[in-house]
């Protein structure tokens, strides 16, 4: 890997294949209901993508990505909710013009922090900035004091717990356990009918590819290599003149912002937002998407997310008991047997065989899925 371009040829092929799959094959093969389901799964792919940078490359395991997914999602949902709560839509309420759950909780005027969410441009900025700044604060507080590894993971769990309790407890301001439901229009454009769902799907896929390219750029920059170096020998990086904390904060913020974009897409595509996507359990589940795809593989994160969620939907529809056994087993298997996930299986078994079959002159090392570097989870000892 001596060249410095941010996408090499085989990676480009991989990205194109994914694009064909998401833009052509899936929309042609699936009905709108199923396509919307894919859209919902893909919102998690943003989180998984962020975790590739933060956990796969940087070695920083955050078990609280639901927090950022939630913050992004709630910012978007607040805008949509306000639009849905126009005075004429809510004239049966005792206070018309405020969201229904506020009215139910005897709140008579819109709280101050809700007011800016009347503006779409403010909302879009907030989707990025609120989680970004929150991640910056947590990251700075932890990484500057050299808290990392399992401690950091536990703290992010605690943050996820705190935010969930807060959202559920303050139902007058947040909609409580039910979340924000009944989201209808975006600037007057109805987001509920089938054609809107299709447009939103393509919009989401577009955003996903933007994030994939950003991730590619980071990975192939020197910063990407510093993250790998840091994961391996933090002290050496420090004594080569880098501020390790700043690089960790950056990786954590990128992961947070990706997750937040996913959350905002969720509010748009699925039409509601609730605390059940914020807490400890969903946050850890999001890590498994990355792990299944291969923690070092940018495209693997997307495939891993889709695969786990398809399995979840089909298994939990027909055999609900089996699903938890399956998910639990997946956590263990992916850690013990396949630390590099699907991408590792592809790189180790499938790709070399295809190569041998075609017997082409293309060297094996340049495949687009895997990185030549080994995960910190590779069988050690």
């Amino acid at each position: 890997m001596t060249d410095n371009r941010f996408v090499n040829r085989s990676e480009l092929i991989g990205i194109l294949l994914l694009a064909v799959f998401l833009v052509v094959i899936l929309p042609l093969c699936l009905d709108v209901f199923r396509l919307n389901l894919v859209a919902k799964y893909l919102t998690y792919a943003f989180v998984a993508l962020g975790l590739v940078i933060c956990w796969g490359y940087g070695g920083i395991l955050s078990l609280g990505q639901g927090v950022f997914f939630g913050l992004g999602g709630y910012c978007m949902a607040m805008f949509l909710k306000l639009e849905a709560s126009s005075v004429e839509n809510t004239k049966i309420q005792s206070t018309p013009g405020i969201p229904d759950f506020m009215d139910w909780n005897q709140i008579t005027s819109l709280p101050l922090f809700w007011k800016p969410f009347h503006s779409l441009s403010f909302t879009i900025a907030a989707v990025i900035l609120v989680p970004g700044i929150f991640a910056l604060i947590i990251g700075a507080a932890m990484f500057k004091r050299r808290v990392g590894g399992t401690y950091f993971a536990i703290i992010t769990q605690a943050v996820a717990a705190i935010l969930t309790i807060l959202i559920v407890g303050q139902q007058g301001y947040t909609g409580g356990i039910n979340g924000m439901t009944d989201l209808r229009t975006l600037k007057g454009w109805d987001i509920r009918p089938d054609h809107a769902k299709i447009v939103l799907y393509f919009f989401e896929v577009g955003c996903l590819f933007v994030c994939i390219f950003i991730a590619q750029f980071i990975r192939h920059s020197k910063l990407g290599r510093i993250l790998v170096a840091m994961r391996d020998k933090e002290d050496r990086v420090r004594f080569s003149g880098y501020s390790v904390a700043n690089f960790k904060i950056f990786a954590f913020c990128v992961a947070a912002i990706f997750a937040a974009i996913g959350g905002a897409m969720f509010a748009l595509n699925v039409g509601f937002m609730s605390p059940s996507f914020v807490g400890i359990v969903p946050s850890i589940e999001m890590v498994i998407y990355t792990a299944v795809g291969g923690r070092l593989s940018i495209l693997g994160a997307v495939y891993g997310t889709l695969l786990v969620n398809f399995a979840k939907t089909s298994l939990s529809e027909s055999f609900p008991e089996l699903w938890l056994f399956g998910l639990g087993g997946l956590f263990i298997a992916v850690v013990l047997a396949f630390p590099n996930g699907l991408a590792g299986i592809w790189g180790d078994y499938v790709h070399p065989r295809i190569d041998r079959l075609i017997n082409s002159s293309k060297p094996k090392s340049g495949d687009g899925w895997t990185d030549s570097s080994v995960a910190d989870g590779a069988p050690a000892e």
Binding site: M1, T2, N4, F217, I218, S221, K222, L223, R225, I226, V228, A229, R231, D232, K233, D235, R236, V237, R238, F239, S240, G241, Y242, S243, V244, N246, F247, F250, S372, S373, V374
Partner: protein
């Protein structure tokens, strides 16, 4: 000795340095001075505090009291990466390299440019970087292994790689912690040759047990014992110091 002199001409001035771990003083009221282009070797029995002294200078361990001045700049107040940027390089006892990266990438990361987050994002691998990496790789006998994963190098080659990483960093003060430990005889000879070449034009602080090696390179030797200086001077002076003989042979 030069106590009482204004230590202005010194590159590194360590004064009254003390560090204690739960009451145990690993380094106790230590003072010494290193001049520009001087090669200083620190010797002493195990547990004398040698590695701790290097840890204190490079900021890995925070001093309890005392001062470390480098070019007149107080190092005890700086963070590790700032100390590196001030011109201090450190090689660890066990080879500390990045196993997951190639030899080229290992060297490139140590190249002193683009050390901020933004700088690292926009860093480009231009001809200056390439030439410098190739130049250093040649010096450390790894020219034909640039695209190899560093994990696959032998122990001695890993030591050379780390020395190379320091070299590309181009520090004014180079600190080496047992650079020939664990090496085969032929590697040892090559390393001595390498060190002799790279210690020109800079000051070097070396910890080493190999007395033959010490004699070869040292301008001046400092003997540490229980966190304090036992003796200091030329190799001959130190070798004949009765206190040193007592510590080394008396136990």
């Amino acid at each position: 000795m030069l106590i009482g002199h204004k230590p202005k001409e010194f590159l590194l001035a360590v004064e009254a340095l003390t560090v204690s771990f739960d009451g145990f003083k690993a380094v106790n009221d230590l003072s010494f001075y290193v001049e520009e282009n001087e090669i200083r070797v620190i010797i002493g029995p195990n547990g004398a505090g040698k590695t701790t002294v290097l840890d204190l200078i490079c900021g890995k361990t925070k001093a309890t009291s005392g001062s470390i001045q480098f070019h007149g700049q107080e190092l005890t107040k700086l963070k590790e990466n700032q100390i590196v940027q001030a011109g201090v390089g450190r090689k660890f006892q066990t080879p500390s390299i990045y196993d997951d990266l190639t030899v080229f990438e290992n060297l490139e990361i140590s190249f002193p440019r683009g050390r901020t987050v933004f700088g690292a994002l926009t860093f480009t691998r231009d001809t200056i970087v390439r030439d410098r990496v190739h130049e250093v790789a040649e010096m450390i006998f790894l020219k034909d292994r640039l695209n190899m994963s560093a994990e696959l190098l032998s122990h001695g080659q890993k030591q050379w790689l780390e020395i190379g990483m320091l070299l590309i960093q181009d520090p004014e003060l180079l600190m080496l912690d047992e650079p020939v430990a664990g090496m085969s005889v032929s590697e040892r000879v090559k390393t001595a040759e390498l060190l002799n070449r790279i210690i020109k034009d800079r000051s070097v602080l070396v910890i080493e047990h190999d007395m033959k090696f010490v004699e070869d390179i040292a301008h001046k030797v400092t003997v540490l014992h229980q966190g304090q200086i036992l003796s200091e001077g030329t190799m001959d002076h130190v070798k004949n110091d009765p206190k040193v003989i007592e510590v080394y042979l008396g136990h």
